[in-house]
C-alpha cells in the first residue's frame, strides 16, 4: 500500500511515514515485539505509522514483500533463501530470533533420542517450507530423506497424540505447549515434560535461522529514504522486543488485544519462549551471526526433500543479509535501550488444560 512515496525517514515530527509489515502467520505472541512497538507508540516516536498484516496459510511473506505489497516482512531464513534463488531480491536486515525454536518431539519410550534415530520412522512436519531443518539435520547424519516417512501435521498435535506420527515437529513456543496443555488419559493429569523425548534442532547441524526482518534489496540500494526508514523501523522494533522482554505479561496481553485467539496462559507461554529465542543477544538484538548464517546456508545446500528437490543449489548472493542497518539502529539507540539483554531471565509459566 505504500513504499513508492515514503517521505522522509525517522525522527521528523510532521507527517508519519506509512509502513507495512507482513507477518508469516496470524497474530500471536511470536510477533509480540512488533505489536508492542505499535501499542507503545515506539513506531510513532520514529516517525512511522506501521500497519501489521497477518498472513494465512497461503500468503508467503517474502513474496508479498517482493511484489511490493509490503515494505518489510518477517520470514524464516531458509524459506527466503529458496525465494532468493528463485529470483527474489531480498535482504535480511535484522535476525530477530538468534536461535531455532524447532523441536522434534517423540514419546519418552519411543527410543527416538537423536536425529539418527529417525530412520524408518514417521516424521511429522507442517510442510509449507517448514520442513528444511529436518532434512538438513538428517543430511548431516547421513540420512537419506527417503529413509523416513514424512507426514504432514495440521494445526494441532492430535496426530502425534493418536500415534499417527512417531516424532512430531513442534515450536517451543507453540506446539510443545499444546502437548503440555493436554490431559493424559492414562493419568487424568496434564502431560509432563518427562513424558516426551525432545530433540531441539538448535543442538543439531540442521539448525537454521528463523524469524528475520526482510527488506527489498533494490530499494535499499536506490532509495535513500527507504534505507533511513529501515533504520527507524528497526529502532522501534528493538524497543518493542525489549519491552516484551521486560514486560512479558503485558506483551502477551497486547497480542491478545491485537487479535490473537490463543487462551491467556498459552499466549504468555509463547511470549516467554519467544524471548528465550532472542535474549540474550550477545552482539545486540538482530545482528546476524556469520557462523549461524553460514550454518543455515550449508544446511539449505545439503537438504534434499523426499521428492529429491533441493532448497537451494548455490550460495546466496552477498546482498542476502546486511548488518549495517541493525547496527546503525543499535548505535543510534545507545543507552536508551538494553539491546543485548545480557542478564535476561525468563519467567516461569504454569500451563493449564487447553491453555485456558
Amino acid at each position: 500500500a505504500c513504499g513508492d512515496s515514503d517521505d522522509g525517514g525517522g525522527g521528523g515530527d510532521g507527517d508519519l511515514t506509512e509502513v507495512t509489515l507482513q507477518l508469516q502467520w496470524l497474530p500471536q505472541a511470536q510477533f509480540a515485539g512488533y505489536y508492542a512497538a505499535v501499542e507503545q507508540g515506539f513506531f510513532e516516536e520514529e516517525g512511522l505509522e506501521v500497519e501489521i498484516v497477518p498472513s494465512g496459510g497461503d500468503i508467503v511473506p517474502q513474496d508479498a514483500l517482493a511484489a511490493g505489497d509490503a515494505d518489510y516482512a518477517i520470514a524464516w531464513v531458509p524459506k527466503v533463501l529458496g525465494s532468493i534463488e528463485g529470483g527474489a531480491n531480498l535482504t535480511n536486515v535484522a535476525q530477530i530470533f538468534q536461535r531455532s525454536g524447532t523441536l522434534q518431539v517423540s514419546w519418552a519410550d519411543s527410543g527416538i533420542e537423536s536425529v539418527a534415530d529417525f530412520e524408518g520412522q514417521r516424521i511429522g512436519s507442517w510442510g509449507f517450507g517448514n520442513e528444511w531443518e529436518i532434512f538438513a539435520a538428517m543430511a548431516a547424519e547421513g540420512l537419506d530423506s527417503e529413509s523416513v516417512e514424512i507426514v504432514t501435521q495440521d494445526f494441532n498435535m492430535n496426530a502425534f497424540l493418536s500415534g499417527d506420527i512417531d516424532a512430531a515437529q513442534a515450536m517451543t513456543y507453540n506446539e510443545y505447549a499444546q502437548l503440555l496443555e493436554t490431559v493424559n488419559p492414562d493419568t487424568g493429569e496434564l502431560y509432563q515434560p518427562e513424558d516426551f523425548n525432545v530433540i531441539s534442532y538448535e543442538d543439531t547441524e540442521g539448525a537454521m535461522l528463523q524469524d528475520a526482518i526482510w527488506a527489498d534489496t533494490e530499494r535499499l540500494e536506490s532509495d535513500e529514504e527507504y534505507a533511513e526508514t529501515t533504520v527507524a523501523f528497526l529502532k522501534a522494533v528493538i524497543k518493542g522486543w525489549a519491552f516484551a522482554r521486560d514486560n512479558v505479561e503485558e506483551a502477551a496481553q497486547i497480542t491478545v488485544d491485537a487479535g490473537s485467539a490463543w487462551p491467556p496462559t498459552h499466549e504468555l507461554w509463547m511470549a516467554n519462549e519467544v524471548n528465550k529465542l532472542i535474549w540474550p543477544a550477545e552482539n545486540g538484538i538482530g545482528v546476524i551471526d556469520e557462523a549461524a548464517w553460514q550454518q543455515t546456508v550449508d544446511g539449505a545446500l545439503s537438504a534434499v526433500n523426499e521428492q529429491g528437490q533441493n532448497l537451494i543449489t548455490e550460495e546466496p548472493p552477498e546482498t542476502a543479509y546486511d548488518n549495517t542497518y541493525i547496527e546503525q539502529a543499535i548505535e543510534e539507540l545507545g543507552d536508551e535501550v538494553d539491546t543485548t539483554g545480557a542478564d535476561y531471565e525468563p519467567i516461569e509459566v504454569e500451563l493449564t488444560e487447553g491453555g485456558n
Binding site: 497477518p54 500468503i59 495440521d154 497424540l161
Partner: protein, 290 residues
C-alpha cells in the same frame, strides 16, 4: 398444522439420529477405529477424535477463554459467522452478476458458448489456494482516490469465483429453456433480442436460476471460508476454524464450535435464497411439485 411442522420434526429427529449414531459408535466402536489391514475404515472413538455430543454443547455455552470478560463461545462464533456471511453475500452478488453476464453472452452468441463453456467448467478444477495470494496481492495495490482495497474484498472476490460457476451454467440453461413457441411468438411480434431476453428468457430462467443461486450461496460460503483461511483474514469464521483447530489437542470440543457455526452459516445463506424463491413464486408455476 401437523403437516406444516412435520418436516421440522422429522428434521430434528434426523439430527438427533445423527447424534445418537455418533454416541452409539463412540460407545461401541473400537478405540483405535476399525482397521482392515492397514486401512482405518471406521474412525477412532477417543475423546480427542470424537468428543461427546454433550461436551461439545457444554463447551459452546462456556466462555471462549478464561480471560475476564471473555464472550461465550457461541457468541464469538456467531459474530464471526455474521461477518463471514456479509462477505459471502458480497461474493455471491458479484458471482451472480458475472455468471448472469456470461450466461447472457453465451445465450446470445453461439460461438461464445462453445468457446467459453469448457473453460468455465475447467475453471472450477483450479484449486482456490493457487490464486488466493495473487488476488490479495493485486487487491492491495488498488487505490482509487482515498479508497483502499480492504482485505475482506479479496475474500469476497475469491468467494465469487466459486459462486459464478453454478449461476453461469444454470442461467445459460434457463435462458435456453423457453419453448420455441414462446420465442417464435416474440418473433411474430417483431420483438428484438433484448425484449425477448427481458420478457421471455429471464422469466423462464427463474426455475433454473433459483437452484443455481442456492448452490452459489453455498459455494460462496465455502469459498469465502477457505479464502479467509488462505489469506489470513482475521474477523471471519475461517480464522476461528484454524485457531480453534490449533487448540484441539487440549480442548477438543472447542474445535467443533466454528464447524457447527460454518454449517449454520451455510444453511442461513441457502435459506435466504429459498426466501428469494418465495418472492419469485409466480415465475415458478411450471415447476413440478414432487
Amino acid at each position: 398444522m401437523v403437516a406444516r411442522i412435520r418436516p421440522l420434526l422429522l428434521g430434528i429427529l434426523g439430527l438427533l439420529a445423527v447424534a445418537a449414531l455418533w454416541e452409539g459408535y463412540k460407545a461401541l466402536g473400537p478405540e483405535d477405529g476399525l482397521l482392515v489391514g492397514d486401512n482405518r475404515v471406521l474412525p477412532r472413538t477417543t475423546d480427542l477424535a470424537m468428543p461427546h455430543v454433550w461436551d461439545i454443547v457444554q463447551r459452546i455455552l462456556e466462555p471462549a477463554t478464561s480471560l475476564d470478560g471473555a464472550e461465550p463461545l457461541w457468541l464469538l462464533v456467531a459474530k464471526a459467522a455474521g461477518v463471514s456471511l456479509g462477505i459471502a453475500a458480497v461474493g455471491w452478488l458479484a458471482g451472480t452478476l458475472v455468471g448472469l453476464l456470461l450466461a447472457v453472452l453465451m445465450q446470445g452468441v453461439r460461438i461464445a458458448e462453445w468457446g467459453l463453456l469448457p473453460w468455465i467448467v475447467l475453471s472450477q478444477t483450479v484449486p482456490l489456494i493457487a490464486f488466493a495470494p495473487v488476488v490479495r496481492s493485486w487487491g492491495s495495490r488498488v487505490e482509487i482516490g482515498g479508497w483502499e482495497w480492504p482485505p475482506w474484498l479479496s475474500v469476497a472476490v475469491i468467494a465469487s469465483y466459486l459462486a459464478f460457476f453454478p449461476v453461469a451454467v444454470g442461467a445459460l440453461k434457463g435462458l435456453q429453456s423457453p419453448e420455441r413457441t414462446h420465442t417464435e411468438l416474440m418473433h411474430t411480434y417483431a420483438a428484438g433480442w433484448w425484449k425477448t431476453l427481458l420478457k421471455v428468457r429471464f422469466p423462464a430462467a427463474v426455475p433454473y436460476l433459483l437452484p443455481a443461486l442456492r448452490l452459489a450461496a453455498a459455494s460462496a460460503v465455502v469459498g469465502g471460508v477457505v479464502a479467509e483461511v488462505s489469506t489470513g483474514y482475521l474477523d471471519g469464521i475461517g480464522r476461528l476454524l484454524v485457531s480453534f483447530a490449533g487448540q484441539a489437542s487440549g480442548d477438543p470440543a472447542k474445535a467443533w464450535a466454528p464447524i457447527l457455526g460454518a454449517i449454520g452459516l451455510g444453511l442461513v445463506a441457502a435459506g435466504f435464497v429459498a426466501l428469494l424463491g418465495v418472492l419469485l413464486r409466480n415465475y415458478r408455476r411450471g415447476e413440478a411439485t414432487a
